[in-house]
Symmetry: C2
Subunit: 337 residues, 2 copies
DNA sequence: AACTATATTTCAAACGTTTGAAATAATAGC
DNA sequence: GCTATTATTTCAAACGTTTGAAATATAGTT
């Protein structure tokens, strides 16, 4: 009843020629007669011949697959980055396997092993929040499989390839923008301290204040771990000060900003209506808000993804030596609403 | 410099035993001596032996991979469904390859071919908006690879397996809820007519009206194609009537609802503040809205995904005959805000 | 017709596994 | 010490490709 897939052997038998002729005809070898090619290709099409990727991979020792490990597909940054990754890979005949770590180290290791077994030709990783140890990626390097870290990366480690948002610049610009709109008390609501770029963002904020002669105040800085409770705790602390009530806010991520706004609205905070905010992310939902956010920091995730893939493919083609570690920064863009 | 991966042969040589012993030891064959097993497994661990999946697939004629084709990962419904799909697959040792069609038939065909070459053991599909012809999935069935459609499906075709949201019930409940809150003029903003379940939703709305003695009025129904312009056109037509201005609205999808709200707010429509709305989706952003939406229709995408995978795995294990076509409905839940 | 040059096809090994059948080793029974 | 069992290991073929080397066919020269 159910057919087994058509193989080169089947075609060869039907055409009364050898398997290698069939193979070469399908791969358009110049030594094969044009008429033979046509005969083979016609029959292949007619019988829906579909080459067995496993066999090809095995023979060729490469899979034409790029593995992607990322924390989460619910986060629009990553989903959008996938678009850039895939786009660029497919133009060069590579496919992509995406594996979510759900910000768990254990799951990340599992994913790495799975991709190792699949013999991916390269790996692109945004590490989980908890990853401090990178030994599960060493095997790839040992086998000569290039690894590119993107966005979330081992910040202390220079000996790796990375493609990052220029998050310093993003925070700097956002802060500058708010200063230029006349704000003096600009609060900063940061993200989890384990994430590599948390500090870059904070530095952008600090440097911008400094460059524009606004004094820094520790009371205007708080951190959240992304969950609602910790965001509310943070926002409470920012708005609890006696004299320095923030009139503007730079937030680590738009969803955090939403939670913060929601809370301030719910307690009817007097400053709520005039507060001006900017968050990282530029999610499409921002445009539905009627009040606070005045701008978004667009992190260009598609471009980050594309750059990561571009770098990886250069490593694969040995256009760049694998030991010549690259660091690429993709600029952010301030989007005013 | 760069090592080639360790193979069974390498292990066998180092241990001075045959490849088959090594293979069987690693696969825990009962005929292999316990001490031998230990020696093999220890060395395998030490040398980081990683079995080559391509070789295994080739030999066994199965890949332990399930292919997923879906329109888009930017849509939270699909992203959440992936969670259910993966979750369930991984407990049974299956991996998943996700391919986005971006609602293009051409890309969908490409994805199908790629997955065919990968020799996936099964396929789960949410078809693109434009897919009317399903011949690109026939090859799977021919090779005995089961295909399960989920959410978006060939509605006219009974001879396939499908797992769907009970979208009729969702629309019915939402409408009922609004009626019970005293509304008489409940508008319905539908989605693209090519999507299979557009009509089911509309029917839920209609039946609910009928069952509760509310007369149906064609002026209270409009359709959008998801893009902003067509949503605005639709909403204009709904609110243009002389006598029957809607006091409540059921929308095909929350993002559409957001666009609609934004428009009404921007023109300062007199009914805007009192309008009560319900959309399909229950995106997390809904909770940040301060005005209209009073409830969401939670479609339980994780459960839809899980059910699709569960069905597929039963087909794979021949617990269900492939020709015994199944249709599974997953209920929606009204979430009141 | 014999030889060369060229075009085309085929051979055969290899990639890394799995697995039933066959071979060998170890143990027990006498 | 020999045979019968049983435990353990090895042989060898197979999965579906690719590919350089070898073989064969075809055409061109003389």
């Amino acid at each position: 009843m159910q057919n087994t897939p058509v193989t080169l052997k089947n075609l060869a038998e039907k055409l009364k020629m050898s398997i290698s002729t069939v193979s070469k005809a399908l791969n358009n070898y110049p030594t094969i007669n044009e008429f033979t090619k046509k005969r083979v290709q016609d029959l292949a099409r007619e019988l829906h011949f579909t080459p067995n990727k496993s066999a090809i991979n095995l023979k060729q020792g490469k899979s034409k697959i790029i593995g992607i490990i990322l924390p989460n597909l619910l986060d629009h940054f990553f989903t959008r980055s996938v678009y850039g990754l895939e786009q660029f890979a497919s133009t060069l005949g590579y496919n992509v396997i995406i594996s979510q770590s759900h910000d768990s180290l254990e799951k990340e290791i599992q994913s790495a092993n799975m991709l190792l077994q699949t013999r991916v030709d390269g790996l692109i990783v945004a590490i989980s929040k908890h990853t401090q140890d990178f030994s599960h990626f060493n095997e790839f390097e040992k086998m000569g499989t290039p690894v590119v870290y993107y966005t979330r990366n081992p910040s202390f480690n220079l000996n790796c390839h990375k493609v990052l948002c220029n998050t310093f610049q993003g925070a700097y610009q956002a802060t500058k923008f708010l200063i230029e709109r006349g704000h003096q008390h600009i609060a900063y609501l940061g993200g989890p301290k384990m994430i590599s770029f948390t500090h870059d963002r904070f530095n952008g904020y600090i440097h911008s204040l400094k460059d524009h002669g606004i004094p820094f105040s520790a009371e205007l800085v708080a951190y959240t771990d992304f969950d609602k409770e910790s965001t509310i705790t943070a926002i409470k602390s920012l708005f609890s000060s006696e004299e320095k009530i923030p009139t503007a806010l730079v937030a680590f991520k738009e969803p955090i900003l939403f939670d913060a706004m929601k809370y301030l609205r719910s307690i009817n905070h007097p400053n709520f209506q005039n507060l001006e905010c900017i968050g990282f992310g530029n999610t499409s939902f921002i445009s539905y808000f009627n009040s606070p956010p005045v701008a978004s920091i667009e992190e260009n995730p598609e471009s980050v993804g594309e750059n990561a893939m571009k770098l990886l493919l250069q490593l694969l083609n040995r256009n760049i030596e694998i030991s010549d570690y690259q660091k690429i920064l993709v600029d952010c863009r301030l989007v005013v609403h």
